[in-house]
């Protein structure tokens, strides 16, 4: 199974190639260029660097959201175009879970809590626990898996910290919301907590690829989505839809061609 992964849901732009258990390429940048300028050139560079024949790719993994609406769509539309050209399926990966996957295998004493700044006093977040389970047929060998304690959602920092305090385990925070909410977290947390080191703290295409592979192993074809039908999961309606639902006057005009 060879997976080409695309990550563009936040500040990081990345692409990775995972062949079974070998991460052949994992290329991530966090730079001021737009993902539109960076993403496909990075994919092209990876392709040339590892002499990748795109025909050998079995599936395209892409973070489906939440995150920056525009970033998610650049990733999604690029993945859809590429999947159309190669006639391959897409493996959609929840962004928050993909970030948590950076820390899968780091021990089961602590829970993993990615936080992404969602503005409007909210965070995209979730709570995960990485632990070991027995592997079939092998005596002493165990395998890492990640349990979802709270699925990805958009809530306030107060709410997520309260959930974490209830769980009671020590917490490791990561994600681009960390610098934004560092002080709030200090005020709110009643259990021990820490922040992930720099190389594990943001989205990584390698993790997106690895989590997609995990989905494939757990669910088989059920994790595959036809590229035509793939749609992102923003976890939030557009402003206009929210206003409309709230009964606010939404009349506005934008230039039409």
């Amino acid at each position: 199974m060879k997976i080409l992964a695309i990550e563009a849901s936040g500040q990081v732009c990345g692409t990775a190639v995972l062949e079974d258990d070998t991460l052949v390429a994992d290329y991530n940048i966090l730079y001021k260029k737009t993902h539109s300028q960076s993403l496909v050139p990075m994919m092209d560079e990876v392709k040339r660097m590892i002499d990748l024949d795109l025909e050998t790719v079995d599936a395209i993994a892409v973070t489906k959201g939440p995150g920056s609406f525009t970033g998610i769509r650049i990733g999604a539309a690029t993945a859809k175009g590429l999947a159309l050209a190669l006639n391959r399926p897409i493996i959609p990966v929840p962004t928050v879970e993909s970030i948590a996957w950076n820390l899968c295998g780091t021990g089961s004493e602590q829970v993993i809590c990615p936080i992404m700044d969602a503005r409007r006093s909210q965070v995209y977040t979730g709570v995960y626990e990485s632990n070991q389970c027995a592997t079939a047929g092998c005596g002493r060998q165990t395998a890492w898996q990640m349990l979802t304690l709270k699925d990805q959602c958009v809530i306030s920092i107060e709410e997520i910290c309260s959930i974490l305090n209830c769980i009671g385990s020590s917490v490791i925070f990561l994600g681009d919301g960390v610098p934004v909410y560092r002080e709030k977290i200090a005020d709110l947390m009643r259990v021990p907590y820490s922040f992930a080191p720099a190389h594990l703290s943001k989205q990584r295409a390698g993790s997106t690829a690895a989590l997609a592979m995990q989905f494939w192993r757990e669910k088989g074809d059920a994790c595959l989505v036809n590229a035509d039908d793939f749609r992102p999961d923003y976890l939030r309606l557009s402003q206009a839809e929210r206003d409309r639902a709230a009964g606010v006057d939404t009349s506005r005009t934008v230039h039409r061609d």
Partner: protein
Amino acid sequence: MQTEKEVTILAIESSCDETAASVVVNGRTVLSNEISSQIDIHTLYGGVVPEIASRKHTERINQVVRTALQTAGRTLDDMDAIAVTCGPGLVGALLIGVSAAKGIAFGTGKPLIGVHHIEGHISANFIADPSLEPPFLCLVVSGGHTHLVLVKDYGEYQILGRTRDDAAGEAFDKVARAIGLGYPGGPKIDKEAKKGNPHAIEFPRGRVAGSEYDFTFSGIKSAVLNYLNQKDMKGEHIVVPDVAASFQQAVVDVLVGHSMEAVENLRREGMTIRKFAIAGGVASNSALRSQMEEACAEHGLAFCCPPPILCTDNAAMIGCAAYYEYRRGRRSGYDLNAMPNLKLGESVYER
């Protein structure tokens, strides 16, 4: 005689609220012209909501491209290039077409060609009239643009006049809302105006001081709003078809007037102008089409006007413009970005 190899281009357009794809051969033969409109959704909001447009493009893009290929009876393997509108337009909307086109180009190894949306509108005339060749004069009128352009050669444009404020289509939308016709204003005013008297109310024909060909539509729009206010204060009812027809006539008079003045002046300067074309969404307006056609006949000009399906945002026109870029050796890199504020006269390839 040496026959040139056929060039088949897959073109994608997503600059506003239409997701479109088309397969075009040699810039002039349209094998398919698929358009998925979002108008019903945006009508709920009285105008295009950029975030919703971007979301819908993302959902629809692959189906539209696939249908365009199927209708054309072609596969991606048959394509010589992948073309896409990169500006101007709504940045989030443009990015969907641009990203998908890059994904397809990267996946197939086919060349990528970024296309200027307004040049696309002008190019729709090459499809409508296979014998049309530059030089000719073209009036581009849409919701976002109003330009009077001298098309000197393929890809070479001299702008004679542009709007100083509202685009013509924008004025239609604003007036339509004010008289309760709703969105989209262009077709609704056109329809209502057919029942009204275009000379019932004399709205001003705006001119820009010190400029022969520039347009201004905010004055006409304000005059309509003032008229409605006055009627309202007096407690009098308005005759909607008359207001629609009179407003439309004022806009058409300005568009036709400026265009024909340009023709006369250019001829006086010794230039040969034989053809006049119109392009853009407002080029579908029936009054503009018929009155421009009459004026062209009076001035001994051949009149070219694409059918409405090529006036609205579509990808066939992008495939046509892309063909001439292709012939000039223009290719975009994978770093092609959306250019929301691209101006007519600015090249996609020289930014």
